[in-house]
Symmetry: C2
DNA sequence: CTCTCCTGGTTGCACAGTACAACTCAGCGG
DNA sequence: CCGCTGAGTTGTACTGTGCAACCAGGAGAG
């Protein structure tokens, strides 16, 4: 019936999208990898998070986050400040440079999407956005996907 | 206005999805990587493609495809047959094992999506599927994303 | 107070996926 | 025959990732 066909299509198209995103991420956005971008965005929204928080939130290994954070710090986009309350902890903050790069990359991505979605009626855009939010908001019994 | 908000949301949610897909691909589907899965699917639809075709189709380097193909062959999922017409060419075919694994993995993925989308009204599913197809079908001036 | 356990983070190692460049081999056009 | 082109392979390097071992700071039990 129609439902199965629709689910099949969704599965197929999401797979296609994921594959392309992966393939093109490095080439299209050399400024900032997907994960770096996400981490930076997260910090922009909620400054002063710990690396562990990020790892938990994105289901990444703490070692991965540690290295990403180290790279971002080397690039001068974030700062690690010791937490006076707990000397094990490093609190992460965006630097001005980080904020600037983030804004610029966001704008680039945004522009790409705008172009791609240019001839969509607003009604469709709003519905599509809603569906995506709803899709991502799902949290089944597998908390493995994080967020 | 509403359009910009919607595009912003779409950008954000697509990014989230891509990040999660990347993170969970290996863990959730250890049987077959995303790319392997895609290549196998492609071969199921159009048997007898050449490695170069796949590379072009997915904007992957031919060396990457070469290695992926080699791995799939080692795993017994595809066969490489010399093309009698042109001895430079290797024509790729799914084996029975490949077809079986592919079917099983597809079913697993499908089930995950079905569960995730279980309480969506059919109308929404069909619209969402349509939007995704439309989104992926877009081919701007950057043919880099392939397909 | 000290000993043990817990927690945040780093580092060593391994591995997948990828690109680029150099190469081999087969076919093609002069 | 000779050089050019195209298919595919291989060497090398880099990124992102996880796991396991480790280190250092805190917290509670005795």
């Amino acid at each position: 019936m129609g439902t199965d066909r629709a689910v099949e299509t969704i599965q197929r198209e999401m797979t296609t999208f994921a594959r392309r995103a992966r393939a093109s991420a490095g080439r299209l956005h050399p400024e900032l990898s997907l994960v770096s971008y996400t981490l930076l965005s997260h910090l922009e929204e909620r400054d002063g998070r710990r690396a562990t928080d990020l790892a938990a939130h994105y289901s990444l290994d703490k070692s991965t986050v540690s290295r990403q954070v180290a790279a971002l710090e080397r690039a001068g986009l974030i700062e690690r400040r010791p937490d006076p309350e707990d000397h094990r902890v490093q609190v992460l903050h965006l630097t001005d440079a980080g904020r600037r790069i983030l804004a610029q990359v966001t704008e680039n991505r945004q522009a790409a999407f705008r172009e791609r979605l240019a001839d969509w009626p607003e009604e469709d855009l709003r519905r599509f956005a809603g569906y995506l939010e709803r899709y991502n908001a799902w949290s089944g019994e597998a908390p493995a996907e994080g967020n």
